[in-house]
């Protein structure tokens, strides 16, 4: 019995609501029982995304800052390319990384395909442009403020980059956290290069895709709740850590 167009499908609505309720219940029980598999994939999610975050930040933050202070011929092109890369579809990144690290690909000898390392590499490629771009935006404003002073003080390039990065660390933290958000919620690329192998490369997002495929929406939604909770906890933790360091405006 399908509803007429324009008429609210009450049965469907009730059904959907109960699915969501079941999902919340599933999340609750997963957490209460501290399910071993759940703990494992949650930790792996964290490990993969945090590793990707550290590497991508180490590349993206200085690069974004460097772009903000350096005037060179193709700077505009570089910025345009970086902003375009920010929108890279993860599946495409996954496919390319897969082909590079497949046994028949150029980096096949390392045997990294279907390991967390491959997932990290894919995520680094996905989030580095995002982190660099956001870092560039905020560093550009700071550089406009600091430009005359730092030139007058006869600073070198590295000193400028370090000064900007230190004084703009709050903004850079925001850039990194945006990258983390994208990494932890990403599924397309890591599904391809990780393979969603149980006890090896399964993470929260690929587990959600799997459970959805099995039609187990409640469990999928429960895992989704855990994922969201994890993202919030990590954000709060990083903010807390950075705040205790110094209680200032920046």
């Amino acid at each position: 019995m399908s509803p007429k167009p324009g008429q609210v499908d009450r049965a469907g609505l009730v059904h959907a609501m109960s699915d969501i309720f079941e999902g919340l219940k599933a999340a609750f029980w997963l957490l209460v029982a501290l399910d071993r598999d759940l703990v494992e994939i949650t930790l792996r999610s964290l490990q993969v995304s945090l590793s990707a975050l550290v590497i991508a930040s180490a590349i993206g933050l200085p690069f974004g800052t460097w772009l903000a202070i350096r005037r060179f011929r193709h700077r505009r092109t570089a910025i345009a390319v970086m902003n375009a890369l920010m929108g890279l579809p993860p599946v495409v990144v996954g496919l390319v990384v897969y082909m590079l690290f497949s046994r028949t690909g150029p980096f096949g000898v390392f045997g990294l395909l279907f390991t967390p390392a491959a997932m990290i590499i894919a995520q680094v490629i996905i989030i580095t442009p995002l982190i660099a771009s956001i870092a560039h935006q905020s560093m550009r404003e700071l550089w406009a403020d600091y430009h005359d002073l730092l030139i007058s003080l006869n600073t070198g390039h590295w000193q400028r980059i370090r000064t900007l990065m230190w004084d703009g660390r709050r903004a850079l933290l925001t850039a990194s956290l945006a990258g983390f958000g994208r990494a932890i919620g990403e599924v397309g690329a890591i599904m391809i290069v990780g393979g969603n192998i149980d006890h090896a490369t399964r993470v929260l997002t690929t587990a959600i895709a799997l459970e959805t495929g099995k039609g187990d929406f409640a469990l999928a939604l429960g895992l989704g709740c855990v994922l969201i909770g994890l993202a919030i906890v990590v954000n709060l933790a990083i903010h807390r850590l950075s705040r205790t360091e110094r209680d200032g405006r920046w």
């Binding site: 590793s51 180490a58 990294l112 390991t115 390392a117 149980d198 495929g213 099995k214 039609g215 929406f217």
Partner: protein, 270 residues
Amino acid sequence: MMRIVLSAILLVFAWGSASRAEQMKLAVTTSFHNSGLADILLPAILRDTGLDVQLLVVGTGQALRLGRAGDVDAILVHSRADEVEFVARGYGTYRREIMYNDFVFVGPASDPAAIGAAKNATQVMHALALAKLPFVSRGDDSGTHKKELSLWRAAGLDHTEFGAWYRAVGAGMGAALNTGSAMNAYLLSDRASWQNFRNKGDLAILSAGDPALINQYAYIPVNPDLHGHIKANRAARLEIWLTSDSAKTLINDYKISGMTMFTFNARSAD
């Protein structure tokens, strides 16, 4: 900063390559995985042989690609023509039939296309083409998808000429079932995926049993002559186990809601 990066990279790589004892990679199809049989077999394999089999759950097409590239040590798929070609081209050593289950037609319980009355699969296909009611096709080059296409062909129908009622979703069995359930559509599913599916909604099995709907699974070790790193020895040990009596018992006894799912039929290698 540099030091942090370096140690992070080192850590990651050490961790990535830290292999636990006796791992091997096996590409399997979504339909096999969705059946839940793997959850029964893998622990038994680990216990009996010490092999930690890592499953890559993909479509048949991708499984074959993975095998061809040497990214997995063996594949377990269900698309005979492709398997034969795979072996003929030398990507795999040989194919060994392990077990079968069957495909079923599911659709709205009220069966508006009346496929329940059909005597065989060909009649079902005609009934569907005549009714022009929503039909969800996997459309992902998987074993199930290929089976569906061969059924249309056998019935003398050309699926490329179907109207909007024929929806190729390009997704795995689970996603296709979700779509079918939401649209109250007809689809072809392997019995195990269907039985394990939790979001059946208004759908039910409407037709099954035609021998043309048999779904044969075969195991193919990837050719170690093409890829030096292939763990041929482990693949061989897995094969011995898969064709053993303990596998036979586990496979034949596997039931979902009291219904037998697979029939073990391993014979000597072709």
